[in-house]
């Protein structure tokens, strides 16, 4: 029985990476595995690294481009996300994000700036991205920019948690910027997670704390990673139908699922879907907590009520 898991954190991917492990004497081994996975996804899928694979892919002018196994799987995951959400979470939002001002690493993004000329233009759509598993190649049409920001972190969280558990045979929880996956044996009362708007909120802050025993838990929000242009508030969750930041009735969505990727994709889709989100989440039997822009809280499915 795990009593108090060992904890370590570091900064990567523009956010905080946290690792909880059931045994303190294997913590460094686990951290090394996690750091390797994080570095690998950064080199493969960062839109802001000139040497990343995805930048090369986006510049391939429509040619078939061989990619690494990691990027190929990450793109397949992003296409799965698009399909299962009926296009609410679409990897072809790269240009829309750039036109909305998110054109560099968020830490370097100027908080406010002059007005932008943007128009309601649907993104190209995930269906234009083609994959070929035989030679592990991907084709992105000219002018289309894919961005894996909505899925890549959750994808690598699942990967890292599974790898650490497999390598060390220990219970582990991995969090990258609040996207969480747990693998292996959990503490007796579960892994304790504070559910909040901003992952930077210290976990011992007052609020709604839940316990999970495995799988994934992820939160998407329009209140974090925001900027203004011409006085207009912008955020990073793009509605593919408009190519603009989603104008949602929800400010935050937290979802539990079998994996972090499932949870994260569902949480982002819930923001985009707006009022239709509770019924949609219910259809998939996904426990979820939605917080409206007016502060109202809607628990979906088997998501627990907050303890007094």
């Amino acid at each position: 029985v795990i009593t108090a898991p060992a904890v370590t954190s570091f900064e990567a991917l523009g956010t905080t990476v946290t690792l909880l492990l059931s045994r303190s004497d294997r913590l460094e081994d686990a951290r090394s595995i996690l750091a390797g996975e994080v570095d690998a996804i950064d080199r493969a899928a960062s839109r802001f690294r000139s040497d990343s694979e995805i930048v090369r892919l986006n510049r391939a002018e429509g040619g078939w481009t061989p990619v690494s196994p990691l990027l190929f799987s990450a793109i397949e995951a992003a296409l799965w996300a698009a399909r299962v959400t009926d296009g609410n979470v679409d990897p072809t939002v790269g240009e829309a994000l750039r036109l909305c001002g998110y054109d560099r690493d968020f830490a370097s993004l100027v908080d406010s700036g002059p007005a932008l000329e943007v128009s309601v233009t649907p993104v190209p759509g995930w269906q234009v991205v083609e994959t070929r598993s035989g030679d592990r190649s991907v084709r992105v049409p000219p002018g289309v920019e894919i961005d894996l920001g909505a899925t890549a972190k959750a994808f690598i969280v699942d990967m890292a948690a599974a790898r650490i558990h497999e390598a060390l045979n220990e219970g582990v929880l991995v969090s990258i910027g609040g996207d969480i996956a747990a693998a292996g044996p959990a503490p007796a009362e579960g892994w304790r997670v504070l559910v909040t708007d901003d992952h930077r909120t210290p976990p011992d802050s007052p609020g709604h704390t839940v316990a999970i025993h495995g799988g994934g838990l992820a939160t998407s929000s329009t209140t974090v990673r925001t900027w203004t242009r011409g006085g207009q508030a912008m955020h990073h969750i793009i509605d593919p139908e408009s190519g603009l930041p989603a104008d949602s009735c929800w400010r935050t969505a937290s979802v539990a699922a079998v994996s972090c990727l499932h949870a994260n994709v569902a949480a982002t889709a819930a923001i985009v879907r707006g009022e239709a989100a509770p019924a949609w989440l219910e259809k998939w039997s996904l426990p979820a907590r939605l917080v409206g822009v007016d502060g109202r809280v809607v628990n979906v499915g088997s998501w627990p009520e907050a303890t007094p």
């Binding site: 196994p69 599974a162 579960g190 892994w191 011992d204 499932h262 426990p287």
Partner: protein
């Protein structure tokens, strides 16, 4: 001048009908052959690329507490398969979150 006898006319019509059936069958067969050749030689969307929407919810098949993990060879291997090409939908956790009192060990919030 006299026309063909009814018997000869019927025989001609039968021959024509039979020939038409063979032509239709041949056209269908050739269409299939051409489609197969085109599918083999012309690059297109992968069979792993999902195309359908409106999937029905999948029942939870998670047996334990571990996440399903897509596989890849990050260290140079060539296993590019993933769990995301099978057309599956969302899966709920094997155990729903439970509310607990006191502080957390980690925070789930947006980045």
């Amino acid at each position: 001048m006299t026309g063909p006898s009814p018997a000869r006319r019927d025989a001609g019509l039968r021959t024509l009908s039979s020939a038409t059936r063979w032509m239709v069958a041949g056209a269908v067969a050739l269409t299939g052959v051409f489609a197969g050749v085109a599918a083999h030689f012309v690059p297109g969307r992968s069979s792993s690329q999902p195309s359908a929407t409106g999937q029905t919810p999948a029942a939870s098949t998670s047996g334990g507490g571990s996440s399903p993990s897509p596989s890849y060879g990050s260290n140079g291997g060539d296993n590019a398969g993933s769990n995301y090409s099978s057309g599956s939908g969302f899966q709920p956790p094997s155990q729903a979150p439970s509310a607990v009192s006191g502080s957390g060990s980690v925070s789930s919030g947006a980045t």
